[in-house]
Symmetry: C2
Subunit: 367 residues, 2 copies
């Protein structure tokens, strides 16, 4: 039976194919002109610096894995030594270190470079922005990656999408947040664009040292914080001291991780090694998201079963207010930076369109 | 400001990392013992047979791309000649052809082999099953891929997840479907598990030749059909003749494509080429889904703007009835096949858990 159907599919499909323009599959392939085309027998020893502590759960582990996979695929011709943040250069100097050729590669997230490049954060995470599946579609087929490469080109860097956290959580609170007014006076650890957004509610975005977060929350030095999701948050022990765990993670709906490669180093590689790097980054893209989903599921269920945490959902009224403030924060950024405007215009127009499709295809589907 | 936050993150993260068990990243790596470990300088010329017409939009194009990428990464040491369905072997003989070594590789979907292996369809698509993001988490980190390899091992095949269609549409109808009773007597082209499900509603699952679908629907020989999503359906011209386009695509919420490799051929490869194949499949995994999302968005918007098609949503009552019948269809399969039961138990238990996480993280998030 299936056999008939399939044969039929093929007949029809042949017809269909006639009408279809060939799809560009090259969304993430970039070649340079001056590179040796062929395997030249040379062995390359590269350094990869990262913004993560060595072997940090999932994020650092996949930086390690990328190095391992490139080594395996190249049969040892491209050896990558991976350094945790602070081991070779400080975590927040990864961009400069790779740009200057101190290391050939880096793994981190584009929003860490927002101080230098305001538009970079749109390649990392955007509050009320696209989720992992949607942002990949934008990067690979909506012009996102081209803009990213345009932005980094002046810094002698080639970026590759290289992982995604999936949806995160909205954070830990010791009091219920029943209205947007409950943010007034709240001292919350929340970095980046999300921090700027809650400042507009009347809350204070606190820069408490991470190593002190547990103690600070426990002693009431801060009232609230957001970290990542159930897996990483549980490793930090927040479920042992906070009362309420809020969702959804409006501030980080699908944060993109990046691989950056020094352009001069990249251009010296033969084509096969260039391709190996790019394809390894794509493998991290799919596997890291899968790992986040699996671990967050496991730890969310564990937390529900074993802890006294009360889960709470931000009301629509609260989310609408946060969304409005997010618009204001983004407007402030793009009104003073032409490249940021160009990137955000592309991002937001793609988002608007894909949400129309999402609203019928995924939104209305429940398994 | 960002700088401080990030440094703090690192301090805390170091603490967090202590508590974390190392994550297994090896979800899709499989080594065999008798393979040459090192690049032996040999060149391999392989054939890849596929279930798609040559260069079929997205699906066939990514089979071509996989061959190209493997060739590039291996610097020509592993050359893959890609054949469309019927060019070397008929589309539905891909499994047997690769199993018997007629070709070294195949690209298609596991549910095509349901006649031979009832459990295979759970690796392809499951009505009311997991979406692309969730099914990847199951395959790579929930034991799914291990079971898939166990199942195919007896057939001398090694499967790799190699693409996903994302959410599809529910199909084309010439009358409104306002209740489950409106399926009674309906002649609908819908293959696979979905076809078995609608048979239980009193509809007839029709096996009309694909090449005749357009004419059959136009002339009323069939009353309804489902194909893929806005992109592929538009190429077929269904928007020119049908009245209603229903969603969501309950019957195919995220169909997995597969790469199959003949085990004997695979075992003769040195490790670097094995790794290259596996990582190329992962690249197809992420890029194909992105391509489907982008193209379906584009064609959905075009259809909304330019055609007279009326979009309709299946009611909750209809979906609940279809879900109940899906349960019956699956029960019939797993009650007579131990391996199918083993696979579905793993699938459904993972699905139950990840839906709990999904229900707070993604479900409540609107950009």
């Amino acid at each position: 039976m299936k056999k008939y159907i399939r044969r039929d599919f093929l007949k029809t499909a042949s017809i269909a194919a006639v009408g279809a323009g060939a799809l560009s599959l090259t969304g993430c392939e970039t070649k340079t002109d001056n590179s040796p085309a062929k395997n030249n027998g040379k062995t390359y020893e590269w350094k990869m610096v990262t913004t993560w502590p060595p072997h940090f759960p999932i994020l650092g582990e996949y930086a390690d894995a990328l190095g391992k996979w490139v080594g395996e695929m190249s049969d040892g011709r491209l050896k990558i030594q991976v350094y945790g943040g602070g081991e070779l250069v400080p975590a927040l100097e990864v961009f400069d270190a790779v740009s200057q050729g101190v290391a050939e590669m880096g793994h981190g997230a584009a929003y860490y470079w927002a101080g230098k490049l305001p538009s970079a954060q749109f390649f990392g995470c955007v509050p009320f922005g696209m989720n992992a599946q949607q942002v990949n579609a934008w990067l690979f087929f909506g012009g996102g990656l081209d803009l990213w490469r345009e932005l980094y080109s002046d810094h002698d860097l080639m970026p590759f999408p290289c992982g995604n956290t999936g949806g995160q959580m909205g954070g830990w609170f010791n009091k219920e947040i029943n209205s947007i007014k409950d943010f007034v006076g709240l001292k919350m650890r929340i970095p980046g664009l999300g921090g700027k957004v809650i400042t507009k509610t009347g809350a204070t975005s606190i820069l408490a040292p991470g190593g002190e977060l547990y103690t600070d929350l426990d002693r009431g030095v801060i009232d609230a914080l957001e970290w990542v999701g159930p897996y990483h948050d549980s490793l930090m022990g927040f479920d042992k001291i906070a009362k309420y765990y809020y969702y959804p993670g409006w501030q980080e709906p699908g944060s993109v991780l990046e691989l950056i490669v020094n352009k001069n180093a990249y251009n010296q590689l033969p084509d096969d090694l260039k391709n190996i790097i790019e394809v390894a980054a794509a493998k991290v893209n799919v596997l890291m998201l899968s790992a986040f989903e699996e671990k967050n599921t496991e730890y969310y269920l564990k937390m529900k079963k074993e802890s006294k945490i009360q889960f709470r959902q931000f009301s629509d009224e609260i989310l609408e207010a946060l969304r409005k403030y997010t618009g204001e924060v983004i407007d402030e950024i793009i009104s003073t930076n032409a490249m940021a405007k160009k990137v955000y215009d592309s991002y937001s127009s793609f988002k608007k369109n894909i949400y129309e499709w999402d609203s019928i295809a995924e939104r209305n589907y429940k398994a």
